[in-house]
């Protein structure tokens, strides 16, 4: 079990899908204006990722190589549609606020990435742990970003007032920028910076280097 547990804990920070692999950014921008939507989105992703990893891993020996992506996407899309239907039935208001972003889990790179990169080659147990770890890593980033954005953008958390607003006689002036998409970029950028400062091995090597001009022949 100890040998397996790194599948679960690694993706939380060390190889977090959002901050290291920069995957799933689009939905991380869109659903993090409030903590409630971020939590719902994280729960939806945890379910889709774990279930798709389990199914794909279970039938991995019988997936023909040529059509594997089609089969993976079909399975993922099915799970996403079911999730969306359940949300619309049992969490109607939140599903209205998440609008298309639940449906867009199909195209979330993390899901297909873990299916293709891990579940296709590993047994069911480790695949589920890996999926859970990655989904939690994504959820963790979502929750951190959403907490910052909702708290400083509106002075509330989960809709409950936390900071006394200036317009009601308090001292806190909501930062409108926090409710706009760019602020999610800033926060994720700062998180990536912080993690890579603490763990310099994550820093990517520059793709292009200026060549030295020494020895350049000129007629």
């Amino acid at each position: 079990m100890i040998r397996l547990s790194h599948h679960l804990t690694d993706p939380l920070i060390r190889s977090n899908p959002v901050t290291l692999q920069i995957l799933g950014i689009c939905s991380a921008l869109a659903v993090t204006t409030a903590l409630a939507t971020a939590l719902t989105m994280a729960a939806a992703l945890i379910f889709v990722l774990c279930a798709s990893a389990a199914i794909i891993s279970a039938i991995r020996r019988h997936i023909p190589h040529a059509i594997r992506l089609i089969l993976q996407i079909t399975i993922i899309a099915t799970l996403v549609i079911v999730t969306d239907e359940v949300l619309r039935a049992y969490a109607f208001e939140i599903s209205q606020r998440l609008s298309i972003f639940v449906g867009l889990i199909v195209t979330n790179c993390i899901v297909l990435g873990r299916a293709e990169g891990f579940a296709m080659h590993h047994p069911v147990g480790p695949s589920i742990l890996d999926a859970l770890g990655n989904a939690l890593g994504y959820g963790l980033v979502l929750v951190i970003v959403a907490t910052i954005r909702e708290l400083f953008g509106t002075g509330r958390l989960l809709g409950i007032p936390m900071l006394p607003l200036a317009e009601q006689g308090g001292w806190f002036e909501p930062l409108r920028l926090m409710q706009l998409a760019p602020s999610a970029f800033f926060i994720i950028g700062l998180m990536i910076w912080a993690i890579r400062t603490a763990r310099p091995e994550q820093v990517e090597r520059p793709e292009h280097r200026l060549l030295s001009r020494q020895g350049e022949a000129r007629p």
Binding site: P64, E85, R88, S99
Partner: protein, 266 residues
């Protein structure tokens, strides 16, 4: 050996490069996916419909709340909700009988209850229109106080559904509420915001000669027939304009409103 095994085991034992296996797996996965999705959709449908109905009722309630003085009128006269009536759109006559909960779009699609619109009349881009529409009336001391007309039209990427409330002169907008839309989040979808819908009360549909002039303009409104557009959502605004012009015109509620105005005068 192979003969001892069932067809299922033989299928699974085929190499993955085998076309039969590829087709078979694709079929099996597709079948499983189709069954799962249709089961979920069928089982959850009643709950979702109830949610949508509740949301629609809440929007109606919000519109009643938003109309100046309407709540008081309703309390005074003891009316707890708007009166719903069926209207034959072609003749403009109100039909006797109660209103069933029929989806207007579904009614429009059915050849028995809907008609195909000629392309030149179909400015709202809806293709077909129901023959009979459910409208809502509010009367005060026996006189008409408010008419609420449901309408829909093509926006930029979705069908916009709205309720238009007209005052007793059948020309002044009392409120416009967008009840359903799927426009671009952050741009066109702002038509659902209360602050945009608050621009509508007091606008006029037609000028004194009867020409329909209501319009969502780009930028700021300058006349009583204009409403500020949303920047970045010109085509959604155009969709709302076309929707209002269609439904207020001869192919929409025109005959009904004419008849209502005639009755009021006579």
């Amino acid at each position: 050996m192979a003969e001892a095994r069932g067809p299922w085991a033989r299928f699974l034992a085929r190499p993955n490069e085998d076309p039969v296996k590829a087709l078979g797996m694709a079929g099996l996965v597709a079948l499983g996916a189709a069954l799962t999705v249709s089961t979920a959709a069928t089982l959850l449908k009643p709950r979702q419909a109830a949610n949508l109905e509740a949301a629609r009722a809440a929007r109606m309630e919000a519109m009643i709340e938003a109309l100046p003085g309407l709540r008081e009128v309703m309390e005074e006269t003891g009316v707890t909700e708007l009166q719903s009536r069926l209207v034959d759109l072609e003749t403009g006559r109100m039909l006797p009988g109660g209103v069933m909960a029929v989806d207007a779009e579904q009614a429009a699609r059915d050849p028995g209850t809907g008609i195909e619109l000629p392309p030149e009349a179909d400015i709202a881009g809806i293709g077909r229109r129901e023959r009979v529409a459910a409208i809502h009336l509010l009367e005060r001391d026996g006189a008409l106080a408010l008419v609420v007309l449901p309408m829909r039209g093509a926006g930029y990427q979705s069908t916009i559904h709205a309720l238009l409330a007209l005052e007793a002169d059948l020309d002044t907008v009392a409120a416009l509420t967008v009840t359903e839309q799927g426009e671009t989040p952050g741009l066109g979808a702002q038509i659902e915001r209360a602050d945009w819908q608050a621009l509508w009360p007091g606008r006029r549909i037609a000028d004194d000669s009867g020409t329909i002039r209501i319009e969502v303009v780009r930028g700021a409104a300058t006349t009583p027939y204009e409403v500020d557009g949303i920047s970045g959502a010109t085509r959604t605004g155009n969709g709302v304009t076309a929707m209002l012009r269609f439904w207020m015109g001869p192919w929409g509620y025109g005959p009904f409103l004419d008849r209502l105005a005639g009755e009021g005068a006579g």
